[in-house]
Symmetry: C2
Subunit: 273 residues, 2 copies
């Protein structure tokens, strides 16, 4: 593990770290924001999973999370969205590099490196809880778009691990969307049975919702057909999960930044209780 | 004038606008954040001048100004840092493209396009006050690094126009720095007499300080030799200007974002009084 950059930010430390990943068989990079409170002891942690084409860096510099995380005393981890070696090359923006979809690929050529589920659910937590003053008993998770999909599916799969989950414009129902079917076929194979374990709507239908959930979706988002928010809204009916339409907002980081304070406050209520 | 992008942000509108510039003899681009209050009438405006290598976009997506501007009801204009045509080409990062230094060039080959003082002080204000619900009687100005130099020199030259001025790690004394002498020689010529009009320290010595001023400077900034903050600190001695050293902070946007709330609050006190 190597800290490749460090910037003081809002009284805390914004780190960028590289490390060898066994899961992805190569070097991976992540961002970690440690609030000022981390100087005095272990702090709760919010995972932020990013969307298509993003690296660890986009949300770290554009989502404005650090201001609110510093106030609340919460660390934020910004994992990358895929392996980055030559094996990640693909002509499409929505497959391969920058488009890991938070699954463990079983199909060639992806299986050798694209193990993003194991990376984000297991290997990276093991590393950061070992190396930094983070409290594994107080975790929450959020994400944007493809990262919202990752956040929802991880939290629904490990509800005992996360105290709360939120998402900004998540891909909600990937087994029924072109943001999902293409990638699941490539990474997981044509047999659709295993896909449902990576579909937030299917997981809620199968398991119910047992942790606090907040989703914001922009009403002017041009990707509504691909995100399928109505399917998630319907699946949440009668649950305690909160789904909000935000009129006029699009799919950009301006949307994410606009509601980041709300999301951090939502997670702080669960993490600091 | 053409609005080339619009994103809802913090209840307001983040615009990017292109227009033909007579001063720079070509097309120029700027960002404009209109807070929610601009729907109801003219709002005060904060000019944000960016640093070397930046376009209109860097601060717009990384400085986190919109959150606080929306709360205060203040618009923010993000001008570009130089003309962008072929005439702007130069091998150096600190001359030509992205490095206008907010002066009107008198020397070839720059004079034909590099009229950034006239552009920022005259042409762009004329445009935005004509086209958008901004209140010309309530203006403030800030900036980062080369943009801090621009903000300070504009405010000190037009103290009747600006109610307050601030800067993040500004180039303070460019007539005595390699971030200044090289560019002033290229843009303004070898005769040093006219340079002093574009040096904040020299302006304060010559004219005094007649408006509220706030400067933050990171203590771990690796460009201290080029920025010359001690010269500004000394020039401000005995004045009402506030110069703050921020221990541990570097020259990055993480530093700018960390103190943006303070700067917007500082300007809001002057603009909303």
């Amino acid at each position: 593990m190597k800290i490749i950059s460090e910037n003081r930010a809002f009284g805390g430390r914004q780190l960028v770290v590289t490390h060898g990943s066994a899961a992805c068989d190569g070097e991976m990079t992540f961002g970690l924001y440690l609030p000022p409170q981390a100087e005095a002891g272990r702090v709760p942690v919010l995972w932020y999973l990013s969307g298509l084409t993003c690296t660890h860096e986009n949300a770290m510099v554009k989502a404005g999370a650090q201001a609110w995380a510093a106030q609340a005393g919460i660390a934020v981890v910004f994992p990358d969205t895929s392996p980055r070696g030559e094996a990640a090359d693909d002509a499409a923006f929505d497959l391969g590099r920058g488009a890991g979809f938070y699954v463990d690929a079983t199909e060639a050529p992806w299986a050798a490196h694209f193990q993003m589920w194991t990376y984000v659910a297991q290997e990276l937590p093991d590393l950061v809880f070992d190396q930094f003053p983070l409290d594994a008993a107080r975790q929450a998770i959020t994400g944007h778009s493809m990262g919202g999909h990752g956040a929802l599916t991880l939290a629904l799969s490990y509800p005992e691990r996360f105290r709360s989950v939120s998402a900004f414009a998540p891909i909600c129902n990937p087994t029924r969307s072109d943001w999902g079917r293409k990638q699941f076929a490539a990474y997981l194979g044509a047999e659709e049975g295993p896909w449902a374990a990576h579909d937030a709507v299917e997981l809620i239908k199968a398991r119910g919702l047992t942790l606090p959930l907040l989703v914001d979706q922009g009403g002017a988002d041009k990707f509504l057909d691909l995100l399928q928010p109505q399917a998630l809204e319907a699946a949440l009916a009668g649950s305690a999960g909160v789904f909000r339409w935000q009129a006029g907002y699009d799919h950009s980081y301006f949307f994410v930044a606009s509601f980041m304070q709300d999301h951090i406050a939502f997670h702080a209520r669960a993490l600091l209780a």
